[in-house]
Symmetry: C2
Subunit: 221 residues, 2 copies
Amino acid sequence: MSDSPQAPGVVDLLGVLAYAELTGFLRMAEDATRFAPTLTDRAALSDLAATEYAHFRLLSQWLESLGVDPEAAMEPFVTALDDWHTQTQPSDWLEALVKAYAGNGIALDFYREAARHLDSATKNLVDEAVADEGRSEFAVERVRAAIEADPKVSGRLALWARRLVGEALSQGQRVAAARPSLAQMLVDAHGEDLAEISRMFARLTEAHGKRMSALGLTPGP
Amino acid sequence: MSDSPQAPGVVDLLGVLAYAELTGFLRMAEDATRFAPTLTDRAALSDLAATEYAHFRLLSQWLESLGVDPEAAMEPFVTALDDWHTQTQPSDWLEALVKAYAGNGIALDFYREAARHLDSATKNLVDEAVADEGRSEFAVERVRAAIEADPKVSGRLALWARRLVGEALSQGQRVAAARPSLAQMLVDAHGEDLAEISRMFARLTEAHGKRMSALGLTPGP
């Protein structure tokens, strides 16, 4: 089942993803400047950041092709996403890597959820974003190596990862409440009630947990 | 006249340009986050930043194809370029735009100077960077509009532009002194003495002055 590309829910979905990519790009660039221990690391995080910018450009062009001003489509989501970034400022390179990997993963899961509700043209755009997933693998290698060198960091980073997803869920619930057409679209496609939103968040949380285990982060007590 | 692509001067040239693009990308992204007054402005400066990253990637791949580690090639220039950015932190959106436009212009002039000394394959890479020049035009529009709205800002921004180029020259002279093979290469190609370096800086300064006039910045007293 798919919604018309001009439906308010679709515009909201493209808008929230566009601002997530734009601000993700900018924050990641800041983290690369501030925390990367080597130029190679700086370039690797920059590469991930530049990919986010490429996704932003695709989403923004797509909005324009629908006759929608990208700025207007992004505006309703600025506060929630800026607040998430403010509440999840990394304090070192490893936290920046976990954030990049986790944030990227949450965004990709969200793209996948979203893809179910979009017409096939918009779906291609989403597929393109998903295809770039491998670019964040360098973060996995770096974090695993750091844990191997000093197993103590695992607990600290696991708490950090939990905070990242906790803050994301709280902002996500705020967005779902403030944008009924977006929430409605996600719900309608499943033909279920509003509890489906919570189940979607549960799926995202579970996927996040799996990624964090892959990083070598053992759940805290 | 062209030098062999593995000559130390060529590697230095690719290295300094690579780090200039990488750090330019990151600093511009930071300025976009901090100062852009609208999402459209933020996206426009991000677009310029992403272009810098694309140039970095080309330069970095070129170094790798020469069998040179990009990190090693960039390392000698990190301090000079980081110092330049530290000494030229914009304090508002207009200063960020003037810096983006001026910095981009200086880099492009330097690419053009460099292109004379490179073999044709490397020259193509330089041409690609030069071809992206138009992307910074939005900065010209924004700054001109701001001066039209409030002519007083022109003097302040003219002083700022002078500081940008002054600090660039001082770092440039430091680099030229520390990297004799780079300086030698630039000099050899003209078949002239070391004073040619100063003349090259004079050409860069003059080109900078013309761009600043195009921005509507009248020279201060």
